[in-house]
């Protein structure tokens, strides 16, 4: 690995890790995925178009890897969607590397009720405070669609928080 790529990893590793971790919840899974993501970045850096922003391109790879991981997880165990959500929700209670009060845990559980794509959009907008235009480039979706998606996500989360 050359010096330039090492700098790139150091610059983006935390953003990418937290982006992944919020999706897969468990540290070990996030750790594996982040390594896979940077391996892909390393292998495909030659095909990176300079007209795109580097971090947008890396985020895009990370987003696809997360969604693929969750899809495989569902297919592997022949589980319907709510069972994987339930499994991840249980891990929020069990894992020792989570430090949040009751309301924060409830918010995370509410997020797990969302479809994966809606959840990843919500995370980028709410936690990472990214612009819709940036998210649109990463997810290859229209800004209007993203706004509607985010709006519905907030409604669902608030409904969950109200019920629980």
């Amino acid at each position: 690995m050359n010096y330039g790529f090492n700098l790139l990893v150091r610059k983006y590793q935390q953003k990418i890790y937290w982006h992944v971790r919020k999706m897969v919840i468990v540290h070990d899974d996030a750790d594996d995925l982040v390594q896979d993501i940077f391996m892909k970045v390393w292998k495909n850096i030659g095909s990176f178009r300079e007209d795109a922003q580097l971090y947008t391109w890396i985020y895009r790879i990370a987003t696809n890897e997360c969604l693929n991981f969750l899809r495989k997880k569902k297919n592997k165990f022949f589980l319907p969607i709510h069972d994987v959500q339930h499994e991840l929700s249980e891990k929020l209670n069990n894992v020792h590397d989570i430090d949040g009060d009751e309301i924060q845990l409830r918010l995370q559980k509410a997020l797990l009720k969302l479809p994966d794509k809606q959840r990843i959009v919500f995370n980028m907008k709410y936690f990472d405070e990214m612009k819709y235009e940036e998210i649109a480039k990463i997810t290859d979706t229209s800004v209007g669609g993203l706004k509607a998606n985010y709006h519905y996500a907030i409604k669902k989360i608030e409904a969950y928080l109200k019920e629980n």
Binding site: M1, N6, V9, R10, Q13, Q14, Y17, W18, R21, K22, I25, H27, D31, V34, Q35, F38, M39, W42, D97, I98, D99, G100, I103, Q104, L105, L107, Q108, Y126, F127, I154, I157, E158, L161, K162
Partner: protein, 143 residues
């Protein structure tokens, strides 16, 4: 409860010095991948090159054994009938002397020419002689 009432917090934690060690882990994986890729490439090359090399050797061996000698001018000439040869030579301007110079005539062949029976067919009657004289404009004194 509204979402805006909740503080934005990152509730997840990572092991100590995780981000210090992550680049090294990634570097290690890239190095392993590069090494295994070069080994894989070499193995793949051997797997493909060995049968191709064997096929090339087999082709050369078969070609060498089946190769027939190139036919000579003599072989081609042997396929032409004597009549065609005589007709061809009759049409060319090669003189009898030139043909004789090229022939490898042994003493036995010379004896054959002494055989008078061979010359019988060259005996011409007066009419045939006159026709030849007329055709070639030969002076009667020469004969």
């Amino acid at each position: 409860m509204k979402l805006e009432d909740i503080d934005k917090q990152n509730i997840f934690k990572v092991p100590d010095k995780y981000f210090d060690q992550l680049p090294t882990k990634i570097q290690s994986r890239i190095n392993d991948s590069t090494a295994s890729k070069s080994t894989l490439s070499w193995n793949l090359f051997l797997k493909i090159a060995t049968p191709v090399f064997a096929l090339v050797l087999l082709f050369i061996f078969i070609e060498k054994n089946n190769q027939e000698p190139m036919p000579t001018a003599g072989d081609y000439l042997a396929q032409v009938s004597a009549d065609d040869l005589i007709a061809y030579l009759g049409d060319t301007e090669i003189s009898a002397d030139e043909i004789l110079e090229e022939l490898d005539i042994s003493e036995n062949d010379v004896d054959l020419f002494d055989d008078e029976s061979l010359l019988q067919e060259f005996e011409l009657d007066d009419m045939e002689i006159n026709a030849v004289i007329d055709e070639y404009g030969i002076d009667g004194k020469v004969l």
